[in-house]
Symmetry: C2
Subunit: 422 residues, 2 copies
């Protein structure tokens, strides 16, 4: 399948420059990106030609930390404290989740991703078989993060790593564990060993709450970042999710090791965890990503809202306006996330790169006037502006319609399956 | 014109109960709301019948503090401090604004309101003639707030009050001034006199930044709320915009006087002004409203994002999750705002009330599963879910199309007019 997008404006994310021109795809990859003037003379060979009517093409958003199938928990119990929520609302229901739940709720999550311009996710949850099945059927680019903790996962980790890194081009797997406070030292050491065996990066929740950091210091005499580094977990890179309570030394480790800090602003304010010092990470040149966290604690899988908060809440943390440039936030939500997830050919729009492309409707009131398109993307855009989402050269969402998801069946199945666990 | 909405779910906002049934309109008003079973026998007289396909009807959002025509300043200079932004980016451009600018940018703002389910706004800006013209042409419900300050407005205030309260059923006008730090005591006293002459409520920006409060205390030995109360400005009610740095005594005044505190979370974090203690106001039973502030400092006119932040940022201020019930936030964004703006017949869906109604698409991934629809509206919905916006019984926006706005002309005019002032 070859597709030609013409009359487009294109933000490749190599820089903040927006060009007027064309983008072509051939199979799963981009075959041409450039101005209309430079287009090679082979316009007639395309299977489909799309007039972009001056709308914007850009790389899809990378949701760099999420628990997709947890859409089942959306608005299920927002009035509980984190501890009550986990023990009364979540764990008892998770115990009831069958294959069909994970499959259906994963698809529902992917549908929300596509409608919001998200082309890949870094997902931490259990029952990988069903999520992978849903992802491959949908055509969604899916990166697993291992979710080992004291309740399980360590014995499957190496096998899952091998299985899901060779299953399908859309699927990959990175080593990971839940968090320090749920994972004993012995298990962390075993993960470190696997990381060394495969020269692989490792990821986890880290410093999400102040209690978590205090607890780690009480147990080990050091912060989680320092502990993980000392255990060799970061010897081949990786990163952490949330990073709300990082001190300067933690940031130094992330900087020196080339790790990625992934921020989850919505979840952090909704659960009263705190506000990450994002601008400080940006200032130090640490690679950053942005994630929605699960719908149980957000409650939307909306990278626009996430970008807005990632950028503006940092002003509250710093006590001054404009603490982060909009382009830095956009890079974090696209190429920064891609780097974190190992999706090195999904980062920017360029020939040879994977065709993970979205079209933003520029004819929406919130995108007008066009004083600064990048700033509009961060400060005024919403999922309403997403007109098309393409992954690996395949259009999966266009003008409100899904091409690979029978969305009404997913809605019906989701309600039916909720009855079993509600 | 009579319209029948059937197969609807309806959230009247009288309570958090959602009924399945019908809503009828006759002219500008609602003629029936109720379950399908109770429907009177007169189904054939309607000019139009709309199958809601189980989607949700609810009152439109009231944008309770905004500067609509400032959409011209969207993403114009996000990298400046508030002071630089005003003096370098805004004031020089505002000096160049002609009638056509105010008219066109007001229309652009109304288009954004309609696409986001907003059916009225409480607007503080200059050149009321052109905003009123744009509002009446659009069919948008528009409430002026006087914007007197030391640079002008006081001599026109009484005349504007009389003119715009009798111009058109869609237009009304409430007394108001910019803020304490821009308005001398003498002028505030003159406003108070007019308020007494007309037994009218008064509104202003209040306690938006810590500096503003400190400055007021230095000048008058008391906070703005106390000062305004002492000057008699609140003798007939009213309220304030932002209310970030209210102390307990300020809240007592608002509580005792029956005033409305209007919150603007997005603008407050973007400009690093601070986080309002919204849950504390709710706890005291103070009437609250929610506003977007102007697009220059937000940068979207999006009540969904605003509701999310109004609710969740309060958790950061309080240091605990779930500090405000979602229904309280929704009430603030609808009937609370209506009360503030004097739109006493636009608050809930009931027979005899104005038909300011929106339809929320329940078949959107972010609204699934339906664990708690009210919570979904606050925590996971976005403008993407808005399917229809009706004001005074007239459908102005439906499935992405405007019925009274030539939107492409507005876009073209907006870009052309920006060139004159950019």
């Amino acid at each position: 399948m070859t597709i030609r997008f013409y009359n487009a404006r294109i933000l490749t994310m190599e820089s903040d420059r927006i060009i007027s021109g064309e983008l072509w795809t051939d199979g799963s990859r981009i075959s041409y990106v450039g101005t209309a003037d430079d287009v090679p003379a082979q316009k007639n060979v395309f299977d489909r030609q799309i007039d972009c009517m001056n709308n914007l093409l850009m790389p899809g958003f990378k949701n760099c930390h999420t628990h997709t199938a947890m859409v089942f928990a959306r608005s299920l119990a927002d009035d509980l404290t984190l501890d009550e929520w986990l023990h009364k609302a979540i764990f008892p229901r998770e115990a009831k989740l069958k294959d069909e739940h994970i499959y259906t709720f994963s698809k529902l999550g992917f549908a929300e991703y596509l409608a919001g311009g998200i082309t890949s996710c870094f997902d931490m949850y259990f029952n990988p078989e069903q999520s992978a099945r849903a992802a491959v059927e949908t055509g969604f680019r899916y990166v697993f993060c291992g979710s080992v903790n004291d309740f399980g996962g360590i014995d499957r980790l190496e096998n899952e790593y091998k299985t899901y890194n060779s299953l399908d081009p859309l699927i990959s797997y990175r080593l990971g564990f839940h968090a320090e406070y749920t994972t004993s030292r012995n298990i962390m050491e075993r993960i470190s060993q696997i990381a060394h065996d495969y020269k692989a990066p490792v990821y986890s929740h880290i410093s999400e709450t102040r209690d978590e950091v205090d607890g780690c210091i009480a147990r080990y005499g050091m912060t989680p970042a320092k502990l993980f580094d000392k255990l060799g977990l970061y010897d081949y890179g990786g990163g952490g999710f949330h990073c709300v309570w990082f001190n300067d030394e933690d940031m130094d480790i992330y900087s020196q090791r080339g790790l990625t800090a992934v921020f989850n602003a919505c979840s952090n304010i909704k659960l009263a965890s705190g506000i990450a010092r994002v601008s400080e990470f940006e200032k130090r040149g640490i690679n950053t990503g942005i994630g929605t966290d699960g719908a149980g604690s957000n409650n939307a899988l909306d990278m626009f809202r996430e970008m807005y908060l990632d950028n503006t809440l940092s002003n509250i943390a710093e006590g001054r306006a404009a603490s982060i440039a909009p382009f830095d936030t956009l890079r974090s939500a696209t190429s920064g996330g891609a780097k974190c997830m190992g999706l090195t050919d999904c980062d920017i729009l360029a020939p040879g790169r994977q065709a993970d492309v979205i079209m933003i409707d520029m004819n929406t009131p919130c995108m007008k006037p066009e004083n600064n398109i990048v700033a509009n993307l961060i400060y005024s855009a919403s999922p309403q502006t997403v007109r098309m989402t393409m992954i690996a050269g395949k259009i999966l969402y266009e003008d409100g319609r899904y091409t690979t998801i029978d969305i009404n069946s997913v809605y019906d199945d989701a309600e039916r399956l909720m009855k079993e666990i509600r």
